[in-house]
Symmetry: C2
């Protein structure tokens, strides 16, 4: 049996499931609502299977309040991923810093070129 | 072919690979250094395969500077995951808020019990 965090990462490793998450981030939805955009190229059982993977991974839950049992996102699973990522903050911030240095050098070169062209005129 | 983000999430969905990332977060390491803690229960080809998955996912790179070509973490792939997670911040923060409310209620109950016991003495 896979550990919970591995199951969550594995569930996120699919563009269809990420699209379903994006849809649910705009509000609760029934299984048939969630299935609609995928049905032309995907069968209903395939859609249901994807939803089950998301549910087992803890990323979505089916509410018990309404009779149509809508799906909703479950923040806790997202929080677990973010907590794990947090340990490596220094690495992803380093990558941001490098982007910043690059953008500054591009702007500086652009400005220098601008000044050169202005002198030529 | 899988998209890059799916490949990254898929690479993270394994405790051995996450342990290798934890090791690399403490500094660069050669393949044999990385393999050491896993070798009693894992073969070297199995370790190498895990490292290849991490490399294809962009999470680690092999530096070209030293002759022993150490592995290091690549912040960019981590950044891509964090950027994707960021869209769902409202959901994981909601889960934090719920934890906060719970902890406050536990503390309040504990304090009330403490006061009750103090009055008894």
């Amino acid at each position: 049996m896979s550990d919970q965090l591995s199951q969550t990462f594995s569930a996120l490793a699919d563009p269809t499931r990420r699209a379903m998450i994006a849809r649910l981030s705009r509000g609760e939805a029934s299984v048939s609502d969630l299935a609609k955009p995928f049905l032309p190229r995907m069968s209903l059982p395939a859609v249901t299977k994807h939803l089950k993977v998301l549910e087992r991974a803890g990323l979505i839950t089916k509410t018990k309040e309404a009779q149509w049992r809508p799906c909703r996102l479950n923040g806790e699973a997202f929080k677990n991923v973010v907590d794990w990522m947090e340990q490596y903050r220094v690495f992803w911030e380093e990558s941001l810093d490098r982007l910043d240095v690059y953008l500054k050098s591009v702007t500086a070169r652009k400005n220098a070129k601008g000044r050169k062209n202005a002198r030529k005129k």
